[in-house]
């Protein structure tokens, strides 16, 4: 089993907890309690590697969105394999907040292997009433491309694109891991953060 650490970042009330809840429990509540500090959840998915089934376990940190919680954030994204940076497509300012998160991740984590996914949430609202959309699809897409981020629009309410997003992250991380293992075999001791199969192998030593 592979294990990846995933963190959700983004302004308060953009729907981070709702996204995680949709992914983990496949449910949605119109009114969800605001998150204090952070919540920890886990969920497994299956990948298909040329017919071979691979199980991936996500360790998910759903953080609180209020600005002041930012000072705690480094604890959460430390060692993260992927970050979902979420904004609300009906709130212009939430995209700006998302951009500062992207910047912070790039500066602080500095690991090319962290997969950053820009997620525009509450798609259902705009599907019902297009005048509610305040962040254009094209603009966000453009920005994501510039920054080399994955990008998608979702709805935690209807579930649109939620599973797919996590699935894609799983695949992406799996690919990265595979290439890492390969370079590792070549004698390069690049860091394999993620997921050697867990063993209770007591002979593996420590320096």
């Amino acid at each position: 089993m592979l294990q990846f650490k995933l963190v959700l970042l983004g302004d308060s009330s953009v729907g981070k907890s709702s996204i995680v809840n949709r992914f983990v429990k496949d449910s949605f509540e119109d009114l969800r309690e605001s998150t204090i500090g952070a919540a920890f959840l886990s969920q497994t998915i299956k990948l298909n590697d040329n017919g071979k089934e691979v199980i991936v376990k996500f360790e998910i940190w759903d953080t609180a969105g209020q600005e002041r919680y930012k000072s705690l954030a480094p604890m959460y994204y430390r060692n993260a394999n992927a970050a979902l940076v979420v904004y609300d497509i009906t709130e212009l300012d939430s995209l700006n907040k998302a951009k500062t998160w992207v910047e912070e991740l790039k500066n602080k984590v500095g690991d090319d292997n962290i997969v950053i996914y820009l997620v525009g949430n509450k798609l259902d609202v705009c599907e019902k009433d297009s005048s509610k959309r305040l962040v254009s699809l094209e603009g966000a897409k453009e920005y994501a491309k510039e920054q080399g981020l994955l990008f998608i629009e979702t709805s935690a309410k209807t579930g649109a694109n939620i599973k797919e997003t996590f699935q894609e992250i799983g695949e992406k991380l799996y690919d990265i891991k595979k290439t890492e293992v390969n370079t590792d075999l070549d004698g390069n001791t690049g860091e394999i953060e993620i997921s050697k199969p867990s063993t209770n192998d007591t002979t593996s030593c420590c320096s």
Binding site: Q3, P74, M75, Y76, T189, S198, S207
Partner: protein, 632 residues
């Protein structure tokens, strides 16, 4: 109400209009809202200002009052049900309280039947309430909610489990209330109405009583009394009303969103505060907002104006929300002031430094009192250029490497477990444990001060250790410690189990007595000796240490920069996981600074009843005193 209302964050003008809509005014003063829900169904006219309408914001009451909603059908008898879980506290306590409640209930039923308000004190809201109850009934099952209006069922507890537990616990509550009544009688404290406003002088006995739980319907008054609410209120008479008037002014101000950014954040959180509690749920009459939500908004906005250093911090919505269930609006406001300043200093400040300090204190306590657990949670840092994880002493991967060890680095780079425990403090266990347990913790917090929050945290950690032991974690983890956590992945795995356990275990603590009887009342459990003085001293120590490290790291950083290297530390000082050997090769910053950091003593807890701090210097002094005594 339309969905748009929840999602509207301050944009549409129409919403803005009634954003700060306060109650009808009398004599130019804002009337405090009837925020105290009448969860126990008692007439409060004795204790409450007559301007408070009888409505009492109790949806439960309305539910119970309307025969149409009770499960049993239409007879008035079914109001009292035969299921204990459905009874209000008063039903259970019986006696004098029984009749007024029934009267009230009957009166309300009459009202419902005749379709018009009979209460002369009622203002617009209460008559609306009654009227609208008929038009738009809340079709919910009363039996699904507890005595405070919270849904019994949670992710971790089923309604059935709750009911079974409650049958017993409600009887415990009745017994405890009987004891309290006797105690008050003996202390010569008679009281009128349903709750005393004065309580006996502090004593070990009273402390024990508080620890066994304050009667639910006395909680508001008791908390207020023990936290010395009157002191602060009397010093600030009229201030809350002034704040409310300022809110009114702000309401019409032009660029208020820019000037008061907290307003919007508060707005987003209002409907995300106890969405599962009847009192906080949207009402279909009026403008769709429950009285409680309006009170909550006023308290939070008033607080943000009162204390701009804190402003609004997510978690304060839950603190205020719970307070509003037990106290009127003005008192709830002052209690919020007391909690954020006296019990949790700095915790909600913009930089949240108080949270980090308290987490440091908690970690020191765990290390001292729960060494077993400490062995799970103490942080491990990777060494570099290696895909293996080694258990390294904290200092060995920093510049202090060659200079010796330092005991206190974990106070600065807090262990990951604090990601879970931070919220325990920010919200004082609201939403962390089931409500009855949270309330018992609050009882003790107001009587014993913040040290109780640490005791409760240590207690919960200690109890969850059993869960940890049961699980795989035990074997793998012990292995790790023998084998020095050989691989990162195993570490991640046990960390995950740890987080999972620490997050879910408290949520299953339905019965407060599990915590109190197994932990808090046990003398042999050493952390029960923690007192406020110790916690205050500890907080000071941690604050100091964190400052030292911060300065140190900053100095290192700037010397790094001058060497053209970027720091691997983030600005909060949390090790971000890929700190490399950079420090070892850098030019050392002032020796005194390093010395200062390194020479820090570990924190010395006072042991046992003697109250002596057993750090080295004191040990020495005691030795000398003994010698002297021996000579004499």
């Amino acid at each position: 109400m339309t969905k748009a209302r929840t999602d509207s964050h301050f944009h549409d003008a129409e919403v803005l209009e009634d954003l700060y809509d306060s109650k009808p005014r009398k004599l130019g003063f804002p009337v405090k809202s009837p925020s105290v829900p009448n969860f126990h169904g008692v007439l409060k006219s004795n204790n409450y200002n007559s301007s408070v309408p009888l409505f009492n914001a109790s949806a439960v009451d309305r539910l119970q009052a309307d025969p149409g909603y009770s499960q049993g059908g239409s007879s008035a008898n079914s109001l009292n049900g035969d299921d204990d879980a459905n009874l209000s506290v008063i039903d259970m306590y019986g006696g004098d309280f029984d009749s007024p409640r029934k009267e009230q209930t009957m009166k309300k039923m009459d009202t419902l039947a005749s379709g018009k308000g009979t209460d002369h004190n009622t203002d617009r809201i209460s008559s609306n309430t009654v009227a609208s109850t008929i038009e738009t009934p809340i079709r919910k099952n009363v039996g699904s909610f507890d005595r405070y209006g919270f849904r019994k069922q949670t992710t971790y507890i089923s309604e059935g489990e709750y009911d079974i537990w409650w049958t017993e616990y409600s009887q415990y509550c009745v017994r405890r209330k009987g004891k309290w009544e006797l105690l008050l009688e003996k202390s010569g404290l008679s009281y009128a109405g349903d709750s005393p406003t004065r309580f006996p002088a502090r004593s070990e006995k009273l402390k024990r009583y508080v620890r066994k739980g304050i009667p639910a319907e006395w909680r508001g008054n008791a908390w207020w009394y023990f936290a010395k609410g009157d002191e602060i209120l009397n010093k600030n008479k009229g201030l809350y009303d002034k704040l409310l008037s300022r809110i009114d002014q702000i309401k019409v101000q032009k660029n208020r969103e820019k000037l008061y950014p907290d307003l919007e954040i508060i707005e987003r959180d209002l409907h995300r505060t106890f969405p599962d509690n009847i009192h906080f749920q949207r009402e279909s009459f009026q403008d769709g907002e429950s009285t409680m939500i309006k009170s909550l908004r006023r308290v939070l906005v008033a607080f943000s104006l009162f204390n701009p250093k804190i402003g609004y911090c997510q978690s304060m919505n839950f603190l205020s929300g719970l307070l509003l269930l037990f106290l009127d609006e003005e008192k709830a406001f002052w209690m919020l002031v007391i909690i954020t300043s006296r019990y949790l200093p700095g915790v909600h400040n913009v930089n949240l430094e108080g949270v980090n300090v308290d987490q440091g204190v908690l970690m020191l306590c765990v290390k001292e009192y729960l060494p077993e657990i400490w062995s799970y949670i103490k942080p491990f840092y990777k060494t570099q250029n290696s895909n293996r994880v080694t258990m390294v002493s904290f200092s060995s991967n920093s510049s202090m490497h060659s200079k010796g060890t330092t005991k206190n680095e974990f106070l600065y780079k807090l262990p990951p477990v604090t990601l879970c425990t931070a919220s325990w403090f920010m919200s004082c266990f609201v939403g962390v444990t089931p409500i009855e347990t949270t309330l018992r913790i609050w009882d003790c917090m107001f009587y014993e001060e913040s040290n109780f929050l640490f005791k409760a945290s240590l207690g919960i950690l200690k109890m969850s250790e059993q869960t940890l032991n049961k699980g795989k974690l035990h074997s793998t983890s012990l292995n790790h410690h023998n084998q020095l956590r050989s691989r990162k992945v195993s570490q991640d795995e046990s960390d995950m189990e740890l987080f999972q356990a620490l997050q879910t275990f408290p949520k299953k603590l339905l019965n407060p007595n599990d915590l109190f009887e197994k932990i808090i009342f046990k003398r042999r459990i050493t952390f029960n000796n923690l007192d406020q003085e110790e916690i205050d001293r500890c907080r000071k120590f941690v604050k100091n240490q964190r400052n030292k490290y911060k300065n140190y790291i900053e100095a290192v950083d700037s010397s790094q920069y001058s060497n053209g290297r970027a720091s691997k530390y983030d600005d909060t000082g949390h090790n971000n996981g890929n700190n490399t050997n950079t420090f070892n090769t850098s030019t050392p910053i002032s020796d005194t600074m390093i010395q200062d950091v390194l020479s820090s003593e570990g924190y010395g807890f006072k042991k046992g009843i003697s109250g002596v701090n057993w750090n080295n210097s004191i040990k020495e002094r005691v030795r000398q005193i003994r010698k002297r005594k021996d000579k004499e």
